[in-house]
């Protein structure tokens, strides 16, 4: 517990109306303060740390997960493993994994990136596996009939058709990694989560609230921008097919 329950909250608790206005005003003042936009605890620095930790973890996770998922899906092997890795991944508490990584690897970015990478892998494996499995067998037969070799068929037929779901898996992972990276502050890491954790510890609720807004906006922006990338990467032929909305990535939430 970061502080006792009875210690003071906002000045006028219990009066929702004026209190809500007071919070918004003080948070706006905090965000507008130039002092919070510079230096080692400034928003640009914290945002850069957050993006760096998340970006590294998603990139390393993708390098590990995508070949596994695509390989398993292409060859149709170990389907249970590919599906169940998401179920098991969902069961792992991100907070516990972060703290264990901290106890093993100590201070610094290493434990954070290792924990976040571990959390990034399961949805990417499952969704890329499902993406490859769902490629219409008739299309694969047609490709073989046209003389495509195995690699050409994988690269030029199966992968383009699997792009929407593979990208949805990467987006699911990335959003969860950005969310979980906010917990890195609990193990003395950087990132925007610092404001939330420091604000709670210092009973500076303006800072805590402003940090929460920044984290929420970053998560939504990550989701929206990767959704945009997804739309750009979907081959035109598939977009014309109007793939139904049921082809969504497996729900995955760890933080």
């Amino acid at each position: 517990m970061l502080r006792s329950r009875e210690s003071g909250a906002w000045p006028s608790r219990g009066h929702e109306g004026p209190e809500a206005v007071a919070i918004v005003e003080s948070v706006m003042r905090w965000l507008a303060d130039p002092a919070h936009w510079q230096g080692s605890d400034g928003i640009p620095t914290r945002l850069a740390q957050h993006l760096q930790l998340s970006g590294e973890s998603v990139a390393i996770g993708a390098l590990i997960a995508l070949p596994i998922g695509i390989g398993l899906g292409h060859f149709g092997r170990f389907g249970n493993l590919a599906i169940n890795i998401s179920n098991v991944g969902r069961a792992v508490p991100s907070f516990g994994i972060l703290v264990i990584a901290f106890q093993v690897f100590g201070l610094g970015d290493l434990p954070i990136v290792i924990a976040l990478t571990a959390l990034a892998i399961p949805p990417m494996v499952t969704n890329s596996y499902v993406a490859l499995r769902e490629v219409d067998p008739d299309v694969k037969d047609a490709a073989r009939g046209m003389g495509y070799r195995r690699w050409a068929q994988l690269l030029r037929i199966e992968l383009p058709l699997a792009v929407p779901l593979i990208m949805a898996g990467i987006r699911t992972s990335a959003v969860q990694v950005v969310a979980t990276a906010a917990l890195a502050a609990l193990i003395a890491g950087g990132g925007l989560g610092r404001y939330i954790i420091d604000g709670l510890a210092q009973q500076d609720y303006t800072k805590e609230f402003a940090g929460a807004l920044l984290v929420a906006v970053l998560a939504l922006a990550t989701e929206a921008s990767l959704w945009g990338v997804e739309q750009l990467l979907v081959p035109r032929g598939i977009r014309l097919l109007q793939v139904p909305a049921s082809r969504q990535a497996t729900a995955f939430k760890t933080a």
């Binding site: 517990m1 970061l2 502080r3 329950r5 909250a9 906002w10 608790r13 929702e16 209190e19 809500a20 919070i23 179920n87 098991v88 969902r90 069961a91 792992v92 508490p93 991100s94 907070f95 516990g96 994994i97 703290v99 264990i100 901290f102 106890q103 959003v175 950005v178 969310a179 979980t180 906010a182 917990l183 609990l186 193990i187 989560g193 939330i196 954790i197 604000g199 709670l200 609720y205 805590e208 609230f209 940090g211 929460a212 807004l213 984290v215 929420a216 998560a219 939504l220 989701e223 909305a245 049921s246 969504q248 729900a251 995955f252 939430k253 760890t254 933080a255």
Partner: protein, 225 residues
């Protein structure tokens, strides 16, 4: 070789002596974890079921992405941010913990309830109408039973995800097993950390298997299919 003294006192990953004397502490944390999870899943179901039934009955299939996007935005926001945004209004405690958890489960369950209800074949509904079912009876005795497999799939995902996220409520003074993870963090004491993480994973897996079993019992007609 004279090793520094502090290296002689190696903290083992699990100190069984501590564990054997702290079983009540662990059980209390586990109990809180189960309670917080049960409220979150039951609350999510209580909200998503009427919403799903209403959307299935009165809105067009083309609206599904838009309807789900409303809750999708909420689902995208990290729990720690929602807790922090709620603290000024609802303080530290159960209400602040449950609002985000219930909201996340509404998305997962609503999506699955709609998948299940939207997939009930038109022929089946026509047959039920022809047999004289009133709308409510048709819903309770035909449509919802047919949607049960999808609803149970949603309940499993919701329950397992919630068990993981509940640990994070340690930062607002709750946490269930997350309390022990937090204790392990601030005291650099491995045992509660490892025990709580392992128990949290086991709890999630047990809940998943149990719900899968109940789901199978609930739809006896699909067995062996």
């Amino acid at each position: 070789m004279a090793a520094p003294v502090f290296l002689d006192i190696v903290d083992p990953w699990v100190n069984w002596d501590w564990l054997s004397t702290h079983i009540p502490t662990v059980l209390a944390a586990l109990g809180q974890h189960v309670t917080l999870t049960a409220i979150a899943v039951a609350g999510g179901l209580a909200i998503s079921l009427p919403l799903g039934i209403a959307a299935n009955r009165w809105t067009n299939l083309h609206l599904r992405p838009a309807e789900l996007a409303v809750f999708g935005g909420f689902y995208t926001i990290p729990s720690i941010a929602l807790f922090a945004l709620l603290i000024p209004y609802t303080g530290l405690g159960t209400v602040t913990a449950e609002i985000p958890l219930i909201g996340y489960n509404v998305l997962i369950l609503l999506r699955n309830i709609l998948v299940g209800l939207d997939a009930v074949p038109r022929d089946v509904i026509d047959a039920a109408d022809g047999m004289g079912y009133r709308p409510l009876a048709r819903l309770l005795r035909i449509e919802l039973p047919l949607a049960l497999p999808a609803i149970f799939a949603g309940l499993r995902v919701a329950t397992v995800s919630t068990i993981g996220i509940v640990t994070i409520t340690a930062v607002i003074g709750l946490g269930g097993l997350g309390q022990l993870i937090y204790k392990g963090l601030i005291e650099s004491f491995h045992t509660p950390l490892v025990v709580a993480t392992v128990l949290s994973i086991l709890l999630a897996l047990v809940a998943d298997v149990a719900l899968a079993g109940v789901g199978r019992l609930a739809v006896p007609w699909s067995r062996g299919a």
